[in-house]
Symmetry: D2
Subunit: 456 residues, 4 copies
């Protein structure tokens, strides 16, 4: 046995028990008691979680005339420090380009930098006949999910999205949809700007919950027509959740992701003094408080499937301020890849809103299952990768810029102190984080070939 | 290590991997590779499932002028042969009696006979002030769930059920409700009998799906008023599922159980020749075919939480025939404790409707979690009871009376051959079933003190 | 021509135009221009409405140890002064008694006193085989609607209500249901009293909206099972309206009545100082404000069919104060037969919430149609009874006790001044009200034999 | 009195009674008994209906490379012969053109030809800033409703439709929306053609009910965002009706039109032998039978507001056959302006599905009210235009091409014989149809300036 984690409380999506975990050759070799090994770490009083899987990141993304400020090194270091040992990043098809090119470009950016394993989705932004044909090749290369936008200039028309669904059904791909009605958003933004409303607080007014609900309803209908599974990314509001749940209750495979920002922050943040509201300019925007309560209940009862981050950081100085005079020019996004687990644990588990098991399921197991990484990732089981988080439930951390590793000059949770934080993080059996310091190696992460989608 | 199951495919509600399972002192001690032990069984090519938990049985139940034909010995032997190593039986409060008496009477019947561990629910049939007070004591004794009927003479009035919910919320109990509108059923039955309609085929006509839907809607509303969790037993139809799901989607903790008979048999069975329809006289009755399809989809997508049996067997000769001239006198019930896993595996997993993990979750993990037995029961984890099923996915079995161990003279699945069956069953580390033969000991099962209900 | 109303604006449920109305022999003989007659009244600048039909009154009702304070004389005088020329009162079956007896008793009370025409519903409170049989005779006598309670001691069980629906369907009767769950109400009231909560403000807390929604849902389901039409009386809240509308949208003939008190008064009234909250103790109780807004929208869009009054007055001194120390002993009811039209006109038409046509439809035409009085009552058409209201849209009135004719010592609308009031009221061609004075004759009203219910 | 119709049964949307109707100067002057006049027609035993209003016609419409085969003369003659004395035709904005030009073009086509009064809607197909501005002028000219397409090349984007709604709300216009998702239709049509599926039977498969439901849901949402009223034209299916009704129940002013073809013909017609299915190529297409039953119930219960025709005839020879080898080239449309009343009366009133009043309301009163023509049109009241239909309830008519006046070489109802037909039709007091012959004068109809929309 290369290493034994001794006496911890192993917590998976369903189980919770005290045991030693033995690691050999980067995998979990044995779970039991009285195990011995070359290196033995006493982790009693700590949880052992499977390394978390973030199904939604945007590293080094060229977007809105700038580039998201975390590259694949800083971004994955931050992920690791926060307990996430796998990310699935969105490679973006260029206009006129192919999906394969997107994958190539992203791998070129990522492979030499990543410190944890990673997979890719591809965003389809230019639906041509040959692009639809190419989807199958991409799935065979281990990129078994696609994203389609209904907002932003990259948005698809309904017939294009339908075609993507039809293909996806046939080749075992899962289609992720950004559900906001972009036509309405663009109109409303123009209208507000025309009325001289340029500050960050007008951003959420340009894309109200009804626009998200409409688009979600439409995506659900198109998926139903195509009999294809649907994964709704970053769902933020009651109406959209209702659309998704009605479909699921009727037997349609619709899956829902939300993000910590939609659980913890509300629309009042846009009224922060000065230009500070820009910190929270992301899409969909933060919502009225009642939506937050509903989303927490949905987490507890299994009505939301995953918690991702939509990590897409931009610095306040030099990036967010591109939109100082025009909220539509503020790069959309928020940092989050590092704080997902601490926030969800503190506000969810500590507050009694969700169980430890549900916590693990939302941040690790379900993302791994839905995106074809399971059981290699997302659980603690014999044979699984030894991606493990030793979690100290008593460790307190202020979520300030100083304590975090993301390459961004603000923290949306600057005032927040959480209890419960990683003490140590292992990736394929190697310790890569200790005491909030990254101790691993650049480029040590690997590209993951994900399996096709399967309902089971 | 007392025993090692070697090389099997361990399947839990979430995980599936190849490993050895080591057992010591009746518990699972280690899961890993290359384990050694005093007794080593090669189970390669087989699944290792956690022993299943049947949350709904009626053994030795005095009901409708007779007694259900399996006692706690024959019933638990049959359970074990079918892969179920824990049952939760319903103790029934007598009119004028206390809940504590019901528990005593049931333990007196069961303790010396059971061959697997068991827990008890208590059915509250006579709501008096002191009975409501007594609920807390019963929960402290490890009986943390109660059943209320909305049909049968035992049914409660709405205010009585509300009071039970209010108490349950305060003391951490889960209320199970039999949702059929008994007043309507009685009227309809009288009406049909009055028209000379006495054959078994009139049984389902006396209690149509709308009666179940109405009662489910009412139970959901009352639970909502009381802010108490609700467990709907043996749900059989689309309307009732809709009522439960709408509440759950809105954040109400409503849980749903269905049974194999509602997944596999339909209302046409009542037209079997002669008096054979009586075999299927149970409540709720078998439904129109469309409900079956919907229930399967609900299983796959997580819209149903558990699959129990409502095992309540009566012999065709000498029992069912009490109602030869009057369908309302046919004892209501069907055997099933032994066939739950084979049927669900064959029709669910083999047909691609549900995954192996979901199968385990429905028959073992979720019942254990909802009823406070987890992780002692319901999973394969270090420290859990070594209740294990070695499942041969290739073993075929005809579900005839001859091959089954339930004390009843017919099989509802006489013509059915399944693929996938227990090869060996262990209870707390002891082999109690081998090759479809019970090899354990009468009275070796123990009463389980279940923990109070908790959403997490 | 006996009389001509000259130059008024005739308004029916659909039409509005300027014309003379000629009356002969108690009926409308001609509508046109330049009509001549023995007596010509210039009504230019005034509306001519059909005399209104109040589908829901309780005169001389023995209830809760007292008798409603308006008898058939004072009550119908008040009705007439407010523009209502037909009432349909509820005759109540006595325990052990027959429906025919109820009709007899009521006619004995009413015939010699009524100053406007009237019809009767019968409340079925004791469902016996012979009572069900008797329903048909009663319908033949012109009493073609029945009421069933789901609250109060008079409430029916579900099977009893179902039987009433089944009979009603076969004989062309319309079943009116009081939808509150009486079992829950009784429990909650006892609970509150047990906690020392005896003041009027606890009345609405003993029967919250959820109890009404549940009962409405149940009534809708039972009617659906029986394929019988349903008329929900005095609907007060959003949840109940939703239940009714979902059924109607699905093609089920469900009709909804609300009352002015549910449109104008809210739950805050129970906090009026001293014992004044008792003025508003009626069932269902006044609701949260949001329900009022919804009900107004429903009136405008045709989602509510009628506005009745549930007129059931009790004096504050000597009657309401029976419950000074126990809110459950406060006689339930509120006066309203006189103020229905002024309030609905002022708050509805003057405020632009509903049109004049919709106003007429709600207070006159729809009640007449649903209850088999049309076109004799409820419209202005050649051949219809000359029950007419000359309505002065500019006349202001303070709705104080002094200005009203109901035999009760308080007005729920004491502070309200309305614009729009009857200037003159005719019953079968005779002027019976002039300038807010009754000028007709006691006993001049007739019993109306109503036709069976028909959807068209 | 110029003319008196003597002894008929006057039927309006709410009233039904026997009376004489006196006409003077083109208007209804008096309704009563024993009227005298210069010309007296005995119409006893006949109904007198208000002349019907068809809110949805397409005469002389250039569409799909041809022109609808009825011009404003033949089309209005046919309308009149069928009992319709007002039509509202759709003027179509040309790409780059203005709304005013559309009105001018249409008036130039219509004014000299129409034999009954007519109004215009304008279809907005090119949303430019100045076009939005111009809407108000058009409303002032008496064109107070606009149509937007969500299908066909003329379709609007969501932001364009939202802008139209926003304008409409401010200026009192009613927006009519053709709800089918045109992007999906185009894709599906191309797909089917690509598979060699070119026959008429593929037309409905290229635009299934789900496409209509999606578009209806979207239109409802956009109208809700804009707080504008919505009129859904030619609704054909259950899902779309559900979307409309849910909104209406929640207090949103959404109105629904259906057409006789969706009530009487189903998808099986596309399997008529040879190219005969082309007769029924219209959009939305004919639907599965279950939708028909639901629509009838909706008519009866007030869940549909109007019955229009979407009259848009194309000859089988020379027009429909443009699409002999490609169903997408078959001009979309069906004749109907003449048969609306006979079909709805025969299948609705004679079959007991709707009352005579409801019949009148659907074909005359509601269209007149919603589109600002009431009470000039749509009712029989003093002062209203003397547009009247003397309806013989016993007259039988075979709806063959020979018996009809529409300029088209087939009848969709060739085999149908109805009972109930116009005996005589009057327009502004002049008899224009007698015994199924047009006896009026070309150009005698007038353009109607319609009032702005108002909810009341």
């Amino acid at each position: 046995m290369d290493m034994v984690l001794k006496g911890g409380t192993v917590a998976t999506a369903r189980d919770i028990y005290t045991a030693d975990v033995g690691i050999q050759g980067g995998s979990i070799a044995v779970i039991g008691r009285d195990l011995r090994g070359d290196r033995v770490l006493d982790v009693s009083g700590k949880y052992i979680f499977p390394g978390a899987v973030d199904p939604h990141t945007h590293l080094e993304l060229e977007f809105m005339d700038t580039v998201s400020s975390d590259d694949f090194y800083t971004g994955t270091v931050a992920a690791a420090c926060g307990g996430t040992t796998t990310i699935i990043d969105y490679a973006e098809q260029m206009p006129g380009g192919t999906l394969g090119q997107a994958v190539e470009v992203w791998r070129a950016k990522a492979d030499s930098k990543v410190v944890v394993d990673y997979g890719l989705h591809v965003s389809i932004t230019d639906v041509r006949r040959e692009v639809l044909a190419e989807m199958e090749d991409v799935v065979r290369q281990g990129v078994s999910s696609f994203k389609c936008y209904l907002a932003y200039p990259e948005r698809l028309r309904d017939d294009e999205l339908l075609q993507v669904f039809l293909r996806a059904r046939d080749i075992g791909a899962l289609v992720n949809v950004h559900c906001e009605n972009g036509w309405l958003v663009d109109f409303m933004a123009r209208k507000l700007l025309g009325e001289g409303k340029t500050a960050p607080r007008w951003h959420p007014r340009s894309r109200p919950a009804s626009f998200e609900e409409e688009a979600t309803q439409r995506a659900v209908t198109l998926a139903s027509i195509a009999q294809a599974p649907l994964y709704v990314v970053h769902l933020s509001c009651e109406g959209a959740l209702g659309a998704a749940r009605r479909a699921r209750d009727a037997g349609q495979p619709v899956f829902v992701e939300t993000c910590p920002q939609y659980l913890l922050l509300d629309i009042d943040r846009y009224d922060d003094p000065g230009f500070n509201g820009a910190k929270y300019v992301l899409s969909p925007p933060l919502r009225e408080r009642k939506n937050l309560d509903l989303l927490w209940k949905a987490l507890a009862l299994g009505n939301v499937d995953t918690v991702g981050t939509d990590h897409c950081p931009f610095k306040l100085v030099g990036q967010k301020d591109l939109g100082r005079d025009d909220f539509t020019k503020i790069p959309n996004g928020i940092p989050g890849v590092e704080t997902r687990l601490p926030l969800l644990y503190h506000e969810g588990v500590n507050q009694g809103r969700i169980s430890v098991n549900r916590f693990v399921e939302l941040v690790a197991t379900n993302p791994a299952r839905l995106f074809g990484l399971y059981p290699q990732k997302g659980t603690i089981a014999v044979g699984s990768d030894a991606d493990l988080v030793v979690w100290d439930p008593e460790k307190e951390m202020h979520l300030t810029v100083e304590n975090l590793h993301m390459n961004v000059d603000y923290s949306p949770y600057e005032q927040v102190t959480v209890r419960g934080y990683p003490e140590m993080v292992l990736a394929r059996g190697k310790v890569i984080v200790e005491d909030n310091r990254f101790v691993g190696e650049q480029g040590s992460g690997r590209f993951l070939e994900r399996r096709p989608f399967s309902l089971s």
